[in-house]
């Protein structure tokens, strides 16, 4: 078997793994959100389906799929049908550049069917050298789903939701990008594999706390999670951009929101918490077991940030629109600029210590 076929097979396997992880993760995160929000509000949440409610998301999914698909008469059909797809695609695309485990050394994989001359297997679908830019651009096109959906429904509230979403995305893209620049400065590379490697050999970039804070807040805004969910606030805009979506089209919006949640958490972990790095442990020491451990540790780190997203959502009230803009332009932007400059200065000062 030649190298090309081998690569192809492993890439397809990796894609399958990442998609399965994301989509299964989505069902679990939806359940977690409902259960955890219930606990926070002194309730119990869904606990009947299967073991303690584990099947709830699947049951809901089946319900959404078999529901009647209503397309209102006054909508712009083409854009209306396209919007959920446009929403879903970037959410799943982001997973392509995230390294989700340590490299499997050649000779460790026991796969007799595929031949013996395996190369080192990098657990990342595409280690492109502009990985971070890929993340920034794909998150920035995520807003099109919201805007198209909001506009196509041809009603005031959805349009307002879409307008808010687009303005919010543009505003928070800047702090997001600038706080990422600080990480890029520290890592010296735009490739995510390289960033994880630098953190593994040195320290986690959480040490650059201001950049982390700005990035965290900006990611909250980019994923449209409370306290930044002005695009869909129920009280003012009757669910905003997906008011007139029903059945699985609505389900796609929901799925995309939670897929975004998972991939964003994965990015926070990759950029600031060493990705799959297991602290004080050499992943290559125990062969395949060490690699497996790194994947599991990565999943645990993601779970923590997903929990943080849920926790914050059920604790904080929503921003008013002017407060949102105030925070974005007058607070986060200067802080992120200062972070970039400060990081650069510190890196020059402590150059010997670092590289």
């Amino acid at each position: 078997m030649d190298a090309f076929t081998q690569n192809l097979i492993f890439t397809v396997l990796k894609i399958a793994f990442v998609l399965t992880f994301t989509l299964l993760g989505v069902t679990m995160v939806i359940l977690a959100e409902r259960r955890f929000s219930a606990f926070i509000q002194d309730r119990l949440g869904p606990n009947r389906t299967w073991f303690g409610g584990l099947g709830q998301s699947f049951a809901d999914g089946i319900k959404l799929i078999v529901k009647e698909d209503v397309i209102p008469n006054h909508v712009d059909r083409l854009v209306y049908l396209l919007a959920p797809v446009v929403m879903m695609t970037p959410a799943l695309m982001i997973g392509a550049v995230i390294p989700f485990g340590a490299t499997i050394p050649s000779g460790e994989l026991w796969l007799p069917l595929l031949g013996a001359n395996l190369e080192n297997l990098v657990l990342q679908i595409a280690n492109i050298n502009v990985g971070i830019l890929y993340f920034v651009s794909v998150t920035s096109i995520g807003v099109y789903g919201i805007v198209m959906g909001g506009w196509a429904q041809n009603n005031k509230y959805s349009l307002l939701g879409a307008l808010r979403a687009s303005a919010q995305m543009i505003s928070y893209e800047l702090p997001l990008g600038l706080s990422v620049v600080a990480v890029v400065l520290m890592a010296g590379s735009l490739s995510l594999g390289e960033i994880v490697k630098v953190q593994q050999e040195g320290f986690w970039f959480i040490l650059n706390f201001p950049a982390f804070l700005v990035f965290l807040i900006a990611v909250f805004a980019e994923t449209n999670r409370l306290p930044f969910d002005l695009a869909e606030c129920e009280q003012e805009l009757v669910a905003g951009y997906h008011t007139e979506y029903s059945s699985m089209k609505f389900g796609m919006f929901l799925l995309a929101e939670y897929a975004n949640l998972i991939t964003s958490s994965a990015f926070i972990v990759t950029l600031f918490f060493g990705g799959w790095d297991v602290p004080f442990y050499d992943e290559t020491a125990h062969g395949l077991a060490g690699v497996l451990l790194s994947v599991i540790v990565f999943a645990i780190k993601i779970s923590f940030f997903v929990f943080l997203f849920i926790w914050v959502r059920w604790s904080l009230p929503r921003f008013r629109y002017d407060q949102l803009m105030h925070l974005g332009w007058k607070r986060l932007l200067p802080i992120s600029l200062a972070t970039v400059v400060g990081t650069a200065i510190l890196m020059v000062l402590f150059k010997d210590l670092y590289h």
Binding site: F36, A38, F39, D42, W314
Partner: protein
């Protein structure tokens, strides 16, 4: 309670940053999360369903296993009261049917078997041959209860009486008197009783 006016000076650094306040809020919700989450996490689903989890910390009532006990003035399913000798108190005066805004009560009167026992009480001369309440139409306003001159019809605390067919949702005299037997001590839900006729 009078409205409390507080003035917040947004210009101080503490109020402008409000990260500490966010953190405090997060801690509060975390406390609630742990209180319920930790307790329900270690219980097996079957135990949880059986209502083993103490009700002190949670608002949820696990419905089919545990049931909410309504307060005394709750307006639920109707009942037809009976006197000490098991004779219906109703005299078929049709005051309830007249008062009913939903027009869900149907009464057909006849001379009661015990009419001779009350020579001085013209009221007990009649009793309902048919007394039907269509609970699908009923709005549970309690006007029938108010209108009744001899306290024969009353609304009980029963709230779960869904039916599988429209016919079963029409409560006749036998059913309404059975409801009286079940609820006369006012402990329908405390004793864990169930309506024992066909739905």
């Amino acid at each position: 309670m009078a409205t409390k006016t507080i003035s917040v000076d947004i210009k101080t650094v503490k109020n402008d940053v409000y990260l500490v306040e966010i953190f405090k809020g997060l801690l509060l919700t975390l406390k609630h999360f742990l209180k319920i989450g930790a307790k329900s996490a270690y219980l097996a689903p079957t135990e949880r369903r059986a209502g083993k989890l103490s009700t002190n910390n949670r608002a949820t009532i696990q419905y089919p296993e545990e049931k909410w006990v309504p307060y005394p003035q709750y307006r639920g399913l109707h009942r037809l009261n009976k006197d000490e000798q098991d004779r219906t108190k109703c005299v078929a005066c049709e005051m309830c049917a007249t008062a009913c805004p939903a027009d869900c009560i149907f009464i057909e009167a006849e001379r009661s078997p015990w009419a001779d026992e009350f020579p001085n009480d013209p009221k007990r001369e009649k009793h309902p041959k048919i007394y039907e309440i269509d609970v699908l139409r009923c709005i549970f306003c309690g006007f029938c209860e108010e209108a009744c001159p001899c306290e024969a019809i009353e609304l009980t605390e029963i709230y779960d009486f869904a039916a599988y067919s429209r016919e079963n949702a029409v409560y006749d005299k036998e059913k309404l008197e059975r409801v009286y037997d079940l609820t006369k001590d006012g402990k329908f839900y405390q004793e864990g009783r169930k309506l024992d006729f066909e739905f």
